[in-house]
């Protein structure tokens, strides 16, 4: 019985919450209502779950949410109570359907995702709210993932929900003219969840959340190259995780990884998405191009078999589509694999001189690697020291120390 409730929570929790938020017009009320609905289910479902658990949870949750609201205003004056009752009546009425809703169907989960990732909220608030509501993660887990106390995270969530209410952030799928920009915002939040999880190994469960979010978004908004591209990119990177660290938890470079450890099913899922993602629109989404680069790595049976020339070409495309110093750095590193470290070094040095990547440990790390390969050991050592100072995570620090020790041999 407990497992059937757990199962209902996993399968219907986010959708039921999303619908309750629409019906009550209030995140907190919806959360309280759903919580009470699950508590009621523990008793009512003892002989088995109802035919439609989701509808059951929504109907009980909504009644409980409205009871909550009535209790909260019980101490107010009669006039205020009447005003709130009127508001409840209005919210209980069916919501108006606008053009976008008609085009995308009545999907509350999508509304919830777009509201949580509204650009009027700070990115860190978007991410916290998405993990808490769409992924149903407990506040304590979200707090752990972002290395803040539970209290701090709870406050961040309260502030975000208060802003949604006070500023009038709409609970809807954005209309066509806003959709592309808003999807990009949602993807940025999902990618932040993933990169935080990817860089810091103790938090790998978040990578699965990010991939799950992208899968859901792809199902809700099918055929979008940006969504498919990000999903493919994350799958192809995540597939390499088992090979990224050795038994001691030390970082293993791509060229040294045991490719037999890569997750084949995940790679297959990612590869199948790359082509449709690239073809979905012209020019392609930068996420799709990044996924194509990851695909070339994933398809190489050995490091030597990697098609570096095509990777350099794809980075050149990326530099046109979404110029950034990080892309330039990657382009230079790929170029070193085709034309040699001497050709790439001036580009990396120019990037360093220009600034804009200050505080990013990968810049001195790439520079150090090129210098090392050119036999300029002393300069390479100084660059690894720079990288060591900037590294945020222990596996990276241990890797840079290892390189330093090798240089001194």
């Amino acid at each position: 019985m407990a497992s059937c409730i757990d199962d209902a929570f996993r399968r219907h929790g986010a959708e039921a919450l999303a619908t309750l938020i629409r019906l009550t017009g209030d995140f907190d009320l919806a959360e309280e209502g759903l919580q009470e609905a699950f508590a009621a289910a523990a008793v009512a479902w003892q002989t088995g779950p109802p035919d439609n658990p989701r509808a059951w949870l929504i109907s009980v949750g909504r009644r409980r949410a409205l009871d909550q609201l009535r209790r909260k205003i019980a101490f107010r004056s009669r006039q205020e109570q009447l005003a709130v009752e009127a508001k409840i009546e209005r919210q209980a009425a069916p919501v108006e359907t606008d053009e976008a809703e008609a085009a995308f169907g009545d999907d509350d989960l999508l509304r919830l995702i777009f509201t949580c990732c509204h650009p009027a909220l700070a990115l860190e608030a978007q991410v916290a709210l998405t993990l808490r509501t769409v992924c149903s993660l407990p506040t304590a887990s979200v707090a752990r993932a972002f290395l803040v106390s539970e209290e701090t995270m709870a406050q961040r969530l309260v502030r975000a929900k208060a802003k949604i209410r006070a500023a009038g952030i709409p609970y809807r799928t954005p209309p066509r003219e806003l959709l592309d920009a808003r999807v990009l915002g949602v993807l940025a939040a999902i990618y932040l969840v993933f990169t935080e999880a990817y860089a810091g190994d103790p938090r790998q469960s978040l990578a699965a959340e990010a991939i799950g979010l992208a899968r859901r978004l792809d199902a809700l908004l099918p055929g979008r190259g940006d969504v498919q591209g990000l999903l493919a990119l994350m799958l192809l990177h995540e597939a390499r995780r088992p090979a990224r660290y050795d038994a001691a938890g030390d970082l293993v470079l791509l060229e040294d990884q045991d490719r037999g450890l890569w997750k084949a099913a995940m790679i297959a899922e990612g590869l199948a998405l790359v082509e449709p993602a690239l073809k979905a629109r012209a020019p392609p989404s930068p996420y799709a191009v990044q996924a194509a680069i990851a695909a070339l790595h994933a398809q190489a049976a050995t490091p030597q078999a990697t098609d570096w020339r095509q990777i350099v070409g794809l980075y050149a495309v990326l530099m046109r589509l979404s110029p950034s110093p990080v892309i330039e750095l990657n382009h230079a590193a790929a170029l070193a694999m085709v034309d040699g470290p001497a050709a790439a070094l001036p580009r990396v040095e120019a990037l360093a001189a220009r600034g804009g990547l200050d505080g990013y440990d990968v810049l001195p790390a790439v520079r150090a690697d090129l210098l090392r390969r050119l036999g300029r050991r002393k300069e390479a050592g100084a660059a690894y020291q720079d990288a060591l100072r900037l590294a945020r995570y222990d596996p990276e620090r241990r890797f840079f120390r290892r390189r330093l020790a090798e240089l001194e041999e």
């Binding site: 205003i73 709130v84 509204h118």
Partner: protein, 116 residues
């Protein structure tokens, strides 16, 4: 809901005295009025005409100029009726000064919200 759209820009910015920019305000305001969103709007005189008032220890302190030195100054506002933040932002984005200054979108705290 009602939103106050606060128009900020550096007063010294040449666009603030560019007749072609100022000319854009006419059709923009007309558009807001025709859409039914318009409540009120005004342009403010430069910040060097401002006076700041504070009460401290029961005494009224009057000083020249704005409260704090900032890069951009409040130069005007629109008060609009909009169904949600997206609609308000949509109007704010069409304010001619948005192209070089910035627009702060603030929801009005309506009296009926105190009740709920």
């Amino acid at each position: 809901m009602q939103y106050l759209l606060l128009i900020y820009s550096a007063e010294s910015h040449e666009a603030n005295n560019d007749p072609s920019v100022l000319a854009e305000y006419g059709p923009f305001t007309q558009g807001v009025v025709q859409s039914g969103a318009f409540k009120s709007a005004d342009r403010l005189k430069p910040v060097n005409t401002a006076t700041t008032v504070r009460i401290r220890d029961g005494k009224t302190l009057t000083t020249d100029g704005p409260f704090a030195e900032t890069r951009e100054q409040l130069g005007g506002y629109y008060l609009v009726e909009a169904k949600d933040l997206d609609a308000a932002v949509g109007i704010a984005a069409k304010i001619p000064t948005a192209k070089y200054g910035s627009i702060e979108v603030r929801p009005i705290w309506s009296m009926e919200e105190y009740a709920t």
